[in-house]
């Protein structure tokens, strides 16, 4: 990728951001009019476009000058939640105190993200989803790649929201809404207060620094509860994990009291008979343990299919009854990770936070995941396998699960073309699976 092109896009982006920060939608329309009028209105004898050029330029200049009058001194406090969910509007209260001596009306509030434009290294190493399908010119110019990178870095959407009148020395409270676009962390740099000029063409923005972070949890879909025919197995969960369920009242034997045993298990009759404290020993816990395997093996740092796969994993996890079974989440980020949720272990909220931070494994091989699952397979009553492709390596894991009669629900995420390696190559796929098209997630996910 050319560094000159990168610089061009970077400067263009900065220019666009400056225009967006200084001009309203109407102002941008006037800029457009000005540009067109300048191009075609030069010859004053052929058309009267020069009159449009003249009045539009005067209005814009006066508007721009007037917008510089705005000065404001405020103190802003946000009541932000720690987490929110991607795709669901986040509403929170903001307290604004006018520290100045002048009352302000028609002030607009907007959250400012701490945007840093992609570096050249990021730009040159990034690959856009479906870039290989673009024509040679587009691939060489890399403009769509740049747009895609900007789009990915855009973590939330916030429009100008009008505040009530800010009286001098008074504090007001207003509800602000923000739309998180993708999972991860939203870094808020501060709040922007803006005032529109008399013509409504230009605006003046004042940034009030107040950095804050919000963790965006993965997008959730409505998923049916999954049923596995697998049996319960013995696990070293013990009474802690068991809580209310299982066969904990089943008696095995008597033994001497040791420090820490609950007093309610002391067999008083036996104690009296022996002369030292004796407790009843119960059969240990049996419960179901399922594996939720998330495929994160993508060659790119960002992939829409992977994002949706994370959402599917999160949705499945949230819809399981965690008091009946333990769900182990397997994924590979920078290293192989296993997390368990349910029956008193990590709660679902914590797991969602983990899923919010999952990244792709660009330079690793799926065989690591296969090894990880094989290592845990003896404990698993069933497996939900969410794949973003189906190739030889992935098929090996599926074949292993089938061979070991571990009930498996296989989900393959596909893009709008509905293609994956297994379909195009001569891969012998002799097992059933569910395809989820990322363009019709809501429909396909209900058929799980």
């Amino acid at each position: 990728m050319s560094k000159h092109l990168y610089k061009l896009y970077k400067h263009t982006q900065r220019c666009k951001e400056w225009v967006a920060s200084r001009f309203t939608n109407m102002g941008r329309l006037f800029l457009f009019i000005l540009g067109i009028a300048f191009l075609f209105g030069i010859n004053v004898q052929r058309t009267m476009i020069y009159q449009i050029l003249s009045i539009a330029s005067v209005l814009l200049i006066i508007s721009f000058v007037c917008s510089y009058r705005f000065r404001i001194k405020v103190k802003i406090e946000r009541n932000l939640p720690k987490t929110c969910i991607a795709g669901r509007e986040l509403r929170y209260n903001v307290q604004i105190e006018n520290l100045g001596k002048k009352t302000h009306s028609a002030i607009y509030y907007r959250e400012q993200s701490s945007k840093i434009l992609p570096s050249f290294l990021e730009y040159s190493s990034f690959t856009e989803d479906g870039e290989e399908q673009r024509n040679l010119f587009d691939r060489k110019m890399g403009y769509y790649r740049w747009l895609s990178l900007i789009h990915i870095n855009n973590t939330f959407q916030c429009i100008d929201q009008e505040l009530p009148d800010l009286a001098a020395g008074k504090k007001i409270e207003s509800t602000i809404s923000l739309l998180p676009l993708k999972r991860g962390t939203i870094h808020l740099e501060g709040s922007t207060l803006s005032l529109v000029d008399p013509f409504g063409l230009c605006k003046r923005q004042v940034l009030c620094q107040s950095p804050a972070n919000v963790l965006v949890l993965p997008k959730l879909y409505s998923v049916p509860k999954l049923y596995f025919p697998g049996s319960r197995k013995y696990h070293q969960g013990g009474i802690t994990a068991a809580q209310n369920h299982g066969d904990s009242s089943e008696f095995i034997s008597l033994r001497e009291y040791t420090h820490g045993d609950p007093i309610k298990y002391i067999d008083w009759k036996a104690t009296a008979r022996v002369g030292k404290p004796i407790v009843k020993q119960h059969k240990d816990e049996y419960f179901s343990r399922y594996g939720l395997i998330l495929d994160s093996y993508v060659a790119r740092s960002y992939s829409q299919i992977f994002e949706e796969a994370v959402s599917v994993a999160a949705s499945i996890m949230m819809n399981q009854d965690n008091s009946e079974a333990v769900l182990d989440l397997f994924f590979v980020g920078r290293k192989c990770i296993t997390c368990s949720v349910g029956r008193g272990l990590t709660d679902q909220q914590r797991m969602l936070e983990i899923l919010a931070s999952v990244t792709t494994s660009q330079n690793r091989k799926f065989k690591e995941m296969t090894a990880l699952v094989k290592h845990h397979s003896s404990l698993l009553s069933g497996v939900v396998l969410i794949l973003i492709d189906l190739d030889e390596d992935r098929k090996e894991l599926v074949d292993y699960l089938i061979a070991h009669k571990i009930p498996c629900k296989l989900i393959i995420m596909v893009d709008s073309n509905g293609k994956f390696t297994g379909k195009t190559d001569t891969l012998n796929v002799d097992f059933s699976f569910t395809e989820i098209n990322i363009n019709r997630m809501e429909e396909d996910i209900t058929l799980l």
């Binding site: 075609f40 052929r46 009267m48 009159q51 005067v58 006066i62 529109v196 013509f199 049923y227």
Partner: protein, 663 residues
């Protein structure tokens, strides 16, 4: 961005008034502003908007084609812009009469492209802008243009003004802006006037100093040489026998500063004898030979090449010609390819074509070299025709042909270098040297340029003249007649041909096809504009109809109708009997078990294709719960699939046994 009601209608009327299309503008304005009164709305999907964009693109392209056909190309952009409010009206109408407040503008142009990335937009402000620009292109020069434009803009700004300022501030600033705007208009007009004045002066001076006339009243050394690099065919000659060797285009008398300058630039309009005939030489004419010539004239004007003694011209592709006293003919109005019949007799000559004092002038800077050659020739005492023969012989014997430009090097002039040292050059050097040598002998002479006709085409069976056949020679006035003196070594044609491209033959085919097409364009003389216009309109309507058929625009139901629909309408899918039959099974669906998994567990269907069954179930759900329902293809798929599975169910023992046990 708010667009106040009625402003679009007002802008349309403004456009109509400025472009004299008030009737169309009024209808459009009524249609557009009528949307505030008419409550009917249509449900348009994303694909419908794309189809309407396609229709609009089509209308735009058709209008461009019609404008190009019916108007001068120079005004094409202005006329196209002035009709934009009409061509773009489908977009605004579909937005205003749809249930959506925004439209998606994109085009598929017949392909099923992914238009998901296109963002919906409110088209009203853009349409308003288009109306204002279209009104401005009407160029009515009306004094009301600026006030009406201002009112429309104030109307728009008032709705979108910053609310923190008072109305007084708003109107005060508007007043200042309008005043400044008017001042800047006057300033722009004055600036334009000054620029035009200055520019005209500049070009006048430029042409004067450069002495460059669009019709080549002068020629620089190397100009013909440049033409020699191209194999492009520019002229075709058809003659009963061998045509004349040289076709003269122009002649020049004064040689100064490496340039030849024309003597007589006094071109006058030559009156036609009949509508298509001109006499180049006043009758009586000697009976001559007729040749047919086809000549490319891309600028539709230029100098006409013809052989010595040409006296009559017949052509229906030339409309006006001018001629000067030297017999140079200039076409001032013709078609891009002219075809003409020319009658010539080598002995005929224009009576006004006589030499003047300039035909004997020799630049001082060239005399030293010419004198040296004269000394070498030593024929000063011989007759004129013997001198000519001697000069010709001198060049043929001592000089060679090459296309290299000759610089002056250590000599005072390039011509001196050519004559005394290099002794190699192309026709321009030979013609210049010959002309000046003749003058040194006291023979009036001039420098002539044109084309040599030497090559007969293998493809067209005519004599063809390529750009590289451009040639220069000398003309000497002997015994009351101008005689051609061509001293360029006779092998120059072969030498030039050696430099021709390997692709000459394939390119000849291309030039032939292009020539035939150009002849077809201009040759018939029939104005096909109306036919083409009708063809465009018919094709546009056919495409309109094809795109329209793809659209499924439905009238949006009112709130009352929607409630009725929700409450009472029941949809029975072809899949329902399968579900009813399976419901009677002994094995009930478990909690958290999907329907498809249940079917798999029941094992009713041998070798069940779960994907296909799932798809049917999805279609069943879509038919029942999706407000858009199924399209024809999906319904057929669901019906056929359901029938197949119903047949299997009828013979499935598990279900029958369960039914029997129930009975």
């Amino acid at each position: 961005m708010k667009v106040p009601p009625l402003i679009t209608g007002a802008a349309l009327l403004f456009w109509g008034n400025e472009t004299n299309a008030l009737f169309i503008a009024t209808i459009l304005a009524l249609f557009i502003e009528g949307s505030h009164l008419v409550k009917t709305r249509y449900t348009l999907k994303r694909s419908d908007f794309i189809n309407i964009s396609d229709l609009t693109s089509l209308a735009f392209m058709a209008s461009v084609a019609l404008i190009l056909l019916n108007y001068e190309p120079i005004g094409f952009l202005r006329i196209t812009t002035s009709w934009l409010p009409l061509t773009l009206s489908p977009l605004i109408i579909c937005q205003l009469y749809s249930t959506s407040d925004k439209i998606v503008i994109g085009t598929r142009l017949g392909k099923q492209q992914n238009n998901e990335s296109l963002k919906p937009l409110d088209f009203r402000p853009y349409y308003l802008t288009v109306c204002l620009f279209a009104a401005a292109t009407g160029n009515s020069r009306s004094l009301w243009f600026y006030p009406v434009l201002s009112v429309l803009l104030i109307w728009l700004l008032f709705q979108n003004r910053g609310r923190s300022y008072s109305l007084l501030s708003f109107f005060l600033l508007i007043g200042i802006s309008l005043g400044l705007g008017y001042g800047s208009i006057l300033g722009i007009e004055e600036t334009q006037r000054i620029i035009i004045k200055k520019t005209h002066g500049f070009w006048r001076n430029y042409y004067r100093t450069k002495n460059s006339d669009p019709f080549k009243s002068h020629i620089h050394f190397g100009e013909t040489g440049r033409l020699k690099t191209s194999d492009e065919i520019i002229m075709r000659v058809e003659a009963p026998s061998t045509p004349p060797h040289l076709f003269k285009e122009a002649s020049y008398s004064l040689f100064t500063n490496k340039s030849w300058i024309g003597q007589n630039n006094d071109f006058t309009l030559l009156p036609a004898v009949t509508e298509t005939t001109w006499d180049l030489i006043v009758p009586p004419h000697k009976p001559g030979t007729a040749i047919s010539v086809e000549y490319d004239l891309p600028k539709e004007k230029g100098l006409l090449p013809y052989p010595k003694g040409g006296y009559r011209l017949k052509s229906n592709t030339i409309f006006n010609i001018e001629k000067n006293s030297d017999g140079i003919v200039k076409v001032i109005d013709g078609t891009p390819v002219i075809s003409y019949d020319l009658f010539y007799h080598p002995e005929m000559q224009l009576t006004t074509d006589l030499p003047g004092p300039r035909n004997l002038e020799i630049p001082e800077s060239e005399k030293y070299a010419l004198q040296e050659v004269i000394n070498q020739l030593g024929v000063s005492t011989l007759a004129d025709h013997q001198k000519i023969d001697a000069i010709t012989h001198f060049f043929q014997k001592n000089f060679s042909y090459s296309l290299h430009l000759v610089g002056k090097e250590s000599y005072a002039t390039p011509l001196g270098n050519f004559l005394l040292h290099k002794k190699s050059g192309f026709c321009e050097y030979y013609a210049t040297a010959t002309t000046l040598l003749l003058r040194l002998y006291g023979i009036p002479s001039r420098y002539a340029v044109g084309y040599a006709v030497t090559e007969k085409s293998w493809l067209e069976k005519k004599y063809v003249v390529r750009k590289r056949h451009a040639h220069a020679w000398s003309e000497a006035f002997i015994a009351g007649h101008w005689q051609v003196v061509d001293t360029t070594p006779s092998n120059w044609v072969e030498e030039d041909q050696e430099l021709s491209s390997f692709f000459t033959k394939p390119m000849d085919i291309f030039y032939f096809i292009r020539h035939q097409y150009r002849l077809y364009q201009v040759g018939s003389g029939v104005d096909n504009t109306l036919i083409y216009s009708i063809v465009i309109i018919v094709l546009t309507f056919i495409l309109f109809f094809r795109i329209y058929r793809r659209m499924k625009i439905e009238q949006a139901s009112s709130a009352k109708e929607r409630i009725n629909f929700r409450s009472f309408d029941k949809i029975v899918s072809p899949f329902t009997p399968i579900m009813d039959a399976i419901m009677q099974s002994k094995e009930h669906q478990r909690d958290n078990e999907s329907f498809v998994e249940w079917i798999l567990r029941l094992d009713i269907f041998p070798n069940l294709n779960s994907c296909e069954f799932e798809e049917l179930y999805r279609l069943h759900l879509q038919m029942r719960y999706d407000p858009r329902g199924l399209d024809d293809h999906q319904l057929t798929q669901l019906r056929q699939g359901s029938e197949k599975y119903l047949t299997i169910i009828e013979h499935a023992p598990s279900i029958h046994s369960s039914q029997a046990s129930k009975r």
